[in-house]
């Protein structure tokens, strides 16, 4: 089972903990199996409630409740994929980054966006691209409060760069069916984390991000975020909310979990045959309200990708959710893209084009060292980095 290799971890000390992990995982599976029929029954019951009674509960749940709001489709509906046109475009963008490192010879960070633009039905090779951007100026590495740019902000820049890449590519096909994919949710993660703090940098990134979504909406592109093995519980929280009598719903009771071991995916695995999608729901959160105000309110559905029974969560903006043609492109297009690789092929390749490996990073650091030397500056890493390099090649236990 194990391949011979070199490990530095003291595995002997971990053995008993690993055994406990296995037992814990098995126990959780038993608990999930016991909870699932109850959750499914609750879903069935909640689906039959009067929409106004559901809306009343959602309103009483308060701002901090992170559930889903139902749309017009029946909750337990399972929809097959519509046909695809003979020729259509699939675009995927993905990003990676190098965070600022105070131990490095020079201060910088890097955002690299990879993308693939594949025209189905053309027989032609897709267009692959990789766009690295080095950030090194003082105003790029410091916030308006004078603090160093942190990993969260770099991630936000990467997310904006991904959306910008999709918009740039989609504008090449303004009147043709185009599926534009990201491999994460559509709500800007940084803004999700920092929404209440409202730092100027976060606001600026959010504004830019929404601006790119505006550009995509003006094309015929069907924008979607695909989340593989989703851990989302928005739908379950809605079901749990519906289990409470309306008069008992308040922010405290709404946060109590009835099915803490389950995620939405568990609930839908048995409902969705291969290729089918679930009903559409809307994310309930203050950030999504801000997206909605710009016409980009995020909706989601679950999809059996047809690849080994996997269930993916697909997020789309309102202008896709409410446009039958764009929604068809998302549903059928993702299925076709998943046919060989389980997650959309364009995203697999975009990741390959974006990823910054340790080898890439070392090559970049060598280039930077050369640039410093040409300026008469000796490139010096910190003593801590130096000592890490000393110990990186120490003798290791052979497994």
């Amino acid at each position: 089972m194990f391949e011979a290799g070199i490990v530095s971890l003291d595995l002997a000390r971990l053995l008993s903990q690993v055994d406990q992990l296995g037992a814990e995982t098995a126990q959780r599976q038993v608990e999930r199996a016991a909870a699932l029929p109850k959750a499914q029954a609750a879903l069935h019951q909640a689906a039959g409630l009067d929409p106004s009674a559901i809306q009343q509960r959602i309103e009483r749940a308060g701002d901090r409740w992170r559930g889903a709001s139902p749309g017009s489709e029946a909750w337990q509906i399972s929809l097959p994929a519509p046909p695809l046109p003979p020729r259509w475009h699939a675009i995927g963008a993905d990003g990676s980054q190098v965070y600022p490192d105070r131990h490095a010879a020079a201060q910088f960070c890097l955002v690299n966006v990879g993308s693939l633009c594949l025209t189905h039905g053309s027989g032609e090779a897709p267009v692959a691209s990789s766009r690295p951007r080095l950030l090194f100026r003082q105003d790029e590495l410091t916030t308006t409060q004078g603090e160093a740019v942190d990993a969260a902000l770099v991630n936000g820049m990467r997310d904006v760069a991904e959306m910008t890449e999709l918009a740039d590519l989609a504008e090449r096909f303004p009147a043709e069916p185009t599926l534009a994919l990201l491999d994460n949710g559509l709500l800007l993660w940084l803004a999700l984390q920092e929404f209440e703090r409202r730092a100027p940098e976060v606001d600026a990134l959010l504004k830019h991000y929404l601006g790119q979504m505006d550009r995509l909406r003006r094309t015929q592109a069907a924008l979607a975020g695909v989340i593989d093995r989703p851990r989302g519980t928005n739908l379950l929280r809605l079901v749990e909310l519906c289990m409470l009598p309306p008069e008992q719903v308040n922010p405290e009771s709404a946060r109590l979990r009835r099915f803490p071991n389950l995620v939405d995916r568990d609930l839908l695995e048995t409902l969705l045959p291969p290729g089918h999608r679930s009903a559409m729901f809307q994310v309930v959160s203050p950030l999504n309200a801000a997206f909605e105000a710009r016409g980009h309110g995020v909706h989601f559905f679950y999809l059996n990708t047809g690849y080994d029974g996997q269930i993916a969560r697909v997020e789309v903006p309102a202008w896709v959710a409410e446009d039958a043609d764009r929604l068809s492109c998302v549903h059928a297009g993702i299925l076709e893209e998943c046919r060989l690789t389980g997650i959309p092929y364009v995203l697999v390749r975009a990741h390959e084009l974006a990823v910054v490996t340790q080898h890439d990073r070392s090559a970049l650091e060598s280039l930077i060292a050369g640039a410093l030397l040409r300026q008469g500056i000796e490139p010096r890493i910190s003593q801590k980095s130096t000592t890490k390099r000393w110990t990186a090649s120490r003798r290791r236990h052979r497994l």
Binding site: L118, A125, P126, A128, L340, E352
Partner: protein, 202 residues
Amino acid sequence: MTEKRTVIGRVTRCSIRGFVGGIRLRQPDLPVFGGWCQAPAQGGETAVVGLIYDISIEDDELARQLAAADAPSPEQQADSQLNRPIPIELQALTVGYRRAGTWVQALPPQPPITLAEITGLEPAEVRAFTQRLDFLPLALSTAEVPADQVVAAALRQAAEARPRDERRPFLLQAGQECARWLGQDLGRLERLLRDLQAGGEA
């Protein structure tokens, strides 16, 4: 040595007798068997000349997944063949070196060092190197590589690097040189000459 050349590999291990390089290249840019290549050594003072005798494509999980699938689309096939950098390893047999603009057909004083850039020889360089064929005994006597096939392929490429009317005379001269060194093994000589003849007829 300052002109911009296409890098076809970077040295990963080497000895005086040959070098091995790895790189990720797109399929159209892959080097060919018997190709002429060089890698700098001695801090750029010399360029070690090699003949590529093996090209292997390393394992690639995505390509394996697509190959195992029922029917990758034409676009995905084209992507793999034209866009995706293929992780390759090439092995070259050292047949000489260049120092200060002079070609020497003998083993070099030092091998290239790790990560030295391996580039192809330009046609003019191939012509210049093969003005003499003193490298033949060195190449033909190398064990554990397909020496005869790689020599024949390299000589055919050296012929291709010449004007059309010089190709056949060059191959005839090369065949005579090979006969000098393989005269004791007529079976081996015959196979090599047939390989060369195929190039001359092409």
